[in-house]
């Protein structure tokens, strides 16, 4: 239960309680506005009834031909609002827009291979590992590093247009590409 609404430029004044969390990066103004200037419908906010920001998602549409898809660039929920199903609601909306507005084949996202909790959550939402991108992330300051920390899984969920289900493959975890090969 929350307000689902479009992300707006002046939300940058409001997102502190979400972004002060260690795992959420704060980018330059241009980063957020670039997304809003192009894919405003893929940028959403969840807001508590008292107006506090609970979380947000920032996405885009990209790719050529059968690779045309919606991409989740950032999704985050403030610690005090986790385990309320907010991430799923935002993903649902993003998938819906990727289908109805952009007519994409799938939605994808990147996640650290070590982030088991998140991977499980995405799997419950219908995503599966499509491939592994080596050395996609830089080491986290508080972690030891290592392959699983720095590699990313590219996880995909087919949309209705992907009738052949090309965005799903059983051996995704074994298919490794380098960072340069990733879009």
């Amino acid at each position: 239960m929350s307000v689902l609404r479009p992300f707006k430029a002046d939300d940058l004044f409001k997102f502190n309680n979400v972004n002060l969390d260690l795992w959420t990066e704060t980018y330059s103004i241009s980063f957020y506005l670039t997304y809003l200037a192009r894919w405003p419908d893929l940028c959403l906010v969840q807001e508590a009834p008292n107006g506090k920001m609970m979380g947000y998602v920032i996405g885009k549409a990209e790719g050529h031909g059968q690779e045309w898809h919606g991409h989740v660039t950032a999704i985050t929920v403030a610690p005090e609002y986790r385990r309320l199903g907010l991430a799923r609601k935002m993903m649902d909306e993003l998938e819906r827009i990727s289908t109805e507005v952009y007519n994409g084949y799938f939605v994808d996202l990147y996640v650290r291979c070590a982030n088991i909790l998140a991977i499980n959550m995405y799997e419950r939402m219908g995503y599966s590992v499509y491939r592994r991108v080596a050395q996609y992330y830089s080491k986290l300051p508080h972690e030891k590093g290592g392959r699983d920390q720095e590699d990313a899984f590219d996880m995909r969920k087919p949309l209705p247009r992907d009738t052949m289900r090309r965005s799903v493959r059983p051996n995704g975890r074994e298919i490794i590409i380098s960072r340069d090969q990733a879009p």
Partner: protein, 1002 residues
């Protein structure tokens, strides 16, 4: 040919990219020998010169290139960079305009010209160019650019006074004509449609807007686009289409398989359903009232029906003076799906929400919370009608608590509803919470979450009259629960990683809230020490919790331990746009802790770091507005422009700027030349309409209703627009004196003394009075014109010009009295500042009263220290006295400046100079007293005895209820916090003490 050209230029680009500007210049020179008129190379050379810090040469070359009116794309692109770097953005526009005029068939040039107008916010020119582009090249995009520009122009977006302009209707009607006649209909894309609806809504053509929305394509766009749907709702409500809104929301909530996912559970839909239903009720009632009033005047024997003005305006009421012809008034046609009776409507909602709550279960809180929201509205309505209030709300609150108290958000969800309970109900509610507290076992995560919700709700629901014991006992209870829980977790083997938030974190926050309350009640500083111990302890256990750090920053600053405050703040990694919203945490009255005179530039650096975002905003956000045009996202453009404006005119930006000025003068030599530039800057700032973007909501507040932890832990009353205005004017006035120029700022501070002071501390008010004493006591030197002053600054004036102005008043005469010109130029108070109209305060201005200020400050600092007031207050008095000394120097500049250029020689200035020097000497003596006081404090703070005392203060309470006991912490931990705090206090006091000595000896 092109390849060859590219090959030739490549080394220059490479050198520029790698930062080898000298090499770039050399390559340019070499190539220019062969082709001296090669435009691209010349442009690149001016860029390279600029980057190599050879501004003069760069400017010369740049001007030459501009004079040749280039049209080449590449050249224009490079020159755009050069001009931007040189802060000559308006010339970019002229450059493109000229180029496009020379080549009107060049579409790219036209688009660039349009963008350059957008960049500087010149919407009118942008509109004209876009229309020209549309006529020449027929692309619909250009037409929409023109339409959007007209809308921005009508809104005066980003202007000094944003808001609808006088010619807005003309512009908007023009925009409407263009969009209606567009070769492509507006429904092709959500953003085009949004623009169309915006125009109609602003023109109040709500029926047309409604029709568009109800069209097949319109409905579809509302379903797929959240932005469009938001605007649709606004239009429905503006039009008074509350029935339609209610029906639509009801459908969305109950029908499966509507477009947006399976079920709409957006809280906005619930809210809108409730709001619009109550609007329907109101409409029905006023409608029936209207009918009664108009058909039954004869029954009113007195003939004194309600005056027309009391008749509630409804969308269907006719114009005129209250007489309503029932035949002419369109009868409200009730929607087939909505009953007319208020009770039936309300019951309908009750049933719906109950059904949804049942169907959704506990996975979805919407239906459950909507029942509460509905009862709250019913309560307000019935209270308004003088009916007795039903007790449904309280039982629903209990039910909600029962269902969701294992979720962190339960407290926040319930807050607004608990707030609308009556006294008696609150007692019953507190009783219920007490039972809950007793029944919960906090050793499991769910049990803990429930306990925390109970604690938060108890604090929030508690009435006034809480005592020291209440707060102390509560703090202990929260911490015991923490220990209990953590022991449980260890037993369960569920040790959490230290990068995770700990479930018990809120207990420490609650305890800190209670301890701050205990301090507020008793003013016993030891409670703040205990709060710090709790927060430091919690922070060591749960490293990622920013709330601990936010609270610690505030308490450390109250205790004048700026070092640990800074270090917690820096650990929070506040960056980018966050520096605008959060730097107030560390920079509010930051000059109090600036140790710049003794070489510690930590605070000045924070000011600089916090100001970088404003440059980023000026250089980048305009590009983003252009991007939004390129991608035709018209729904974003106004938002971007407003964002840019909010950041550009941020209150915090200029509070930081002033704070920086106050720090800077303690180390920099005062030069009238520099002051003149700064004077103009501050005058510019004074004209701004500021926006307050500061985020105070990050300060976690679990205090009883009506209290705010943010206020309680603020170092002095929270500053705002008024504080900024007063201090700006104070400095502008002083600078103007120093530079001997006129200023339009009020010469009489009494304007302020009579009621603008609510945001100032007592000591700031005294400081302000001191500035008035200076202004009246020191005779105004002969003034020169701004032009002459600037000329003197740039070194083009002859010495005689600078001294030519005759003295307008004899020395010793109060300036304000004789300087009639200046008095007439007093600016009225800015519109956003309210005056309370109390009697003006007068000051007695003389050398003696000026000295007395310093004497009083020294006495006050000592008294505060002796009375054991918070150390920040002592520092505050000390730094203000130091600032007063600097202010005295600023205002004395015309008489005793050592800088030859601006020194004036007045025939009879001798006595003034003597008197200024005498005051300065005596002021310095009193400042030395303050410095000694601070040194003494520093010495005491550094002693081992003080540390023991501090830790014992915490331990003294370590009996039955004590915090330390509850935390099961030995004195060691408290001792370490004590050590850290006291050392930081010592550093501050020592630094300020030595700083003062440096300032007075400079």
């Amino acid at each position: 040919m092109v390849d060859q050209e590219q090959r030739k230029l490549k080394p220059i680009y490479d050198a520029l990219d790698s930062g080898s500007y000298k090499a770039a210049i050399q390559t340019c020179n070499k190539l220019l020998k062969k082709q001296p008129q090669h435009e691209t190379i010349r442009a690149l050379k001016s860029l390279a010169l600029l980057r190599a810090n050879k501004a003069e040469e760069a400017i010369q070359l740049c001007d030459e290139i501009l004079a040749s009116k280039p049209t080449d794309d590449t050249v224009l692109g490079i020159m755009q960079h050069v001009l931007k770097h040189l802060d000559r953005t308006p010339e970019i526009t002229a450059m493109f305009e000229d180029a496009f005029k020379k080549q009107p068939g060049n579409e790219e040039l036209g688009a660039q010209t349009f963008m350059s107008h957008i960049r500087v916010g010149s919407w009118k020119n942008a509109q004209i160019i876009a229309l020209k582009l549309f006529k020449s090249f027929k692309q619909p995009k250009y037409l929409f650019w023109s339409i959007m520009s007209a809308v921005l122009q009508a809104q005066n977006a980003g202007g000094v006074n944003p808001g609808m302009t006088d010619n807005a209707p003309i512009l908007l009607n023009l925009a409407l004509r263009m969009i209606t006649n567009s070769p492509i209909p507006s429904y092709v894309a959500p953003d085009h449609f949004y623009l169309h609806l915006t125009i109609l809504k602003t023109l109040d053509k709500l029926d047309e807007a409604y029709e568009l929305i109800q069209s097949e394509r319109g409905k579809r766009l509302c379903e797929t686009s959240l932005v469009v749907d938001e605007l649709r709702r606004e239009i429905f409500l503006a039009k008074g289409a509350c029935k339609e809104e209610a029906v639509l929301c009801g459908e969305r909530l109950s029908k499966k398989g509507w477009a947006r996912g399976e079920l709409d559970r957006n809280w906005i839909t619930f809210l809108s359903l409730i709001d619009s239903t109550f609007d329907v009720i109101k409409l029905n009632e006023s409608q029936s009232k209207c009918e009664t009033d108009s058909v039954a005047p004869a029954t009113d024997s007195e003939g004194a029906g309600p005056p027309p003005s009391e008749a509630k305006p409804t969308p269907t009421s006719t114009e005129g003076n209250g007489e309503v012809d029932p035949e002419l008034t369109p009868k409200p046609t009730p929607h087939p799906e909505l009953p007319l009776e208020p009770q039936a409507l309300i019951d309908g909602l009750r049933e719906l929400f109950e059904r949804l709550a049942k169907e959704d279960g506990l996975k979805e809180r919407g239906g459950h919370l909507a029942s509460l929201q509905l009862e709250k509205r019913v309560r307000i309505r019935e209270e308004g009608q003088g009916k007795s209030v039903p007790d449904t709300l309280l039982s629903l609150i209990k039910q909600y608590f029962n269902n969701f108290s294992d979720k962190t958000c339960c407290f926040e969800d319930l807050k607004p509803y608990v707030a609308s309970l009556q006294e008696g109900e609150l007692t019953s509610w507190l009783g219920y919470l007490k039972e809950q507290a007793d029944a919960r076992d906090p050793s499991t995560p769910a049990g803990l979450a429930r306990s925390i919700n109970v604690f938060k709700l108890q604090r929030f629901s508690s009435t006034s009259g809480r005592t020291e014991d209440d707060e102390r006992n509560d703090a202990a209870l929260y911490l015991k629960t923490d220990v209990h829980f953590n022991r449980g977790m260890v037993l369960l083997g569920k040790d959490l990683s230290d990068t995770d938030l700990q479930p018990a974190d809120d207990l420490a926050i609650l305890a800190a809230n209670a301890l701050v309350s205990a301090w507020v009640i008793t003013r016993k500083e030891t409670y703040l020490h205990q709060a710090l111990v709790v927060l430091e302890y919690a922070s060591s256990k749960s490293k990622q919790n920013y709330q601990f750090r936010v609270l610690a920053v505030r308490i450390y600053r109250l205790l004048a331990a700026n070092g640990p405050a800074l270090s917690h703040y820096r650990t929070m990694d506040v960056k980018q746009v966050q520096t605008d919203t959060l730097s107030h945490l560390i920079l509010s009255r930051g000059s109090t802790y600036s140790l710049a005179p003794v070489g510690d530039v930590g605070m000045t650096q924070e000011c600089i770091a916090a100001s970088d975002i404003y440059n980023q905003n000026s250089s980048d956000t305009a590009d983003m507005i252009i991007k939004a045009f390129q991608f035709e996202k018209y729904s974003q453009i106004t938002e971007f422009v407003e964002f840019e404006d909010r950041l550009d005119n941020s209150l915090q930006r200029d509070l930081t700027r002033l704070e920086y000025v106050r720090m800077k003068f303690t180390t920099e030599k005062l030069e009238p030349e520099a002051l003149l530039l700064e004077l103009q800057e501050l005058e510019f700032v004074l004209e701004k309409m500021h926006h307050d973007n500061r985020d105070f909501a990050v300060i976690p507040n679990y205090q009883p209703r009506g209290q705010s932890l943010a206020d309680q832990t603020s170092m002095g009353v929270v500053r705002g627009f008024q504080w900024l205005t007063v201090f700006l004017q104070l400095y502008i006035r002083a600078y103007a004196r120093a530079c001997r120029v006129e200023t339009s700022v009020a010469s009489d501070m009494n304007t302020f003394l009579s009621g603008w002071l609510s945001e100032m501390t007592e000591d700031e008010k005294t400081f302000l009075k001191f500035s008035q004493i200076l202004h009246e006591w020191i005779p105004c030197p002969p003034l020169q014109s701004r032009e002459a002053a600037m000329a003197a600054l740039t070194g083009t004036a002859t010495p005689s010009e600078a001294t030519a102005a005759p003295a307008q008043n004899g020395s010793g005469e109060p300036a304000a009295k004789t300087n009639g010109d200046q008095e007439r130029k007093q600016s009225p108070p800015p519109p956003h500042v309210k005056q309370d109209g109390s009697a003006p305060v007068t000051v007695e201005a003389s050398a003696e009263t000026a000295v007395k200020y310093f004497q009083d400050a020294a006495a006050r600092a000592k008294a505060l220290a002796d009375q054991g007031e918070l150390l920040w207050e002592v520092c505050h008095v000390a730094t203000l006295a130091q600032e007063a000394y600097i202010l005295l120097q600023i205002v004395s500049l015309p008489y005793i400046s050592k800088s030859g250029k601006s020194k004036i020689k007045l025939a009879d200035s001798g006595p003034v100079v003597e008197s200024l020097k005498a005051v300065r000497t005596q002021a310095a003596t009193h400042l030395k007293t303050i410095s000694t006081l601070l040194s003494d404090i520093a010495e005491k703070e550094g002693s081992a005895a003080r540390r023991d005392e501090w830790a014992e203060g915490c331990a003294a309470l370590s009996e039955a209820n004590s915090v330390m006991h509850a935390l099961q912490l030995g004195n060691e931990f408290a001792s370490s916090v004590a050590k850290k705090t006291l050392e930081a206090r010592k550093t501050v006091c020592e630094g300020l003490a030595n700083g003062i000595l440096k300032v007075i000896s400079a």
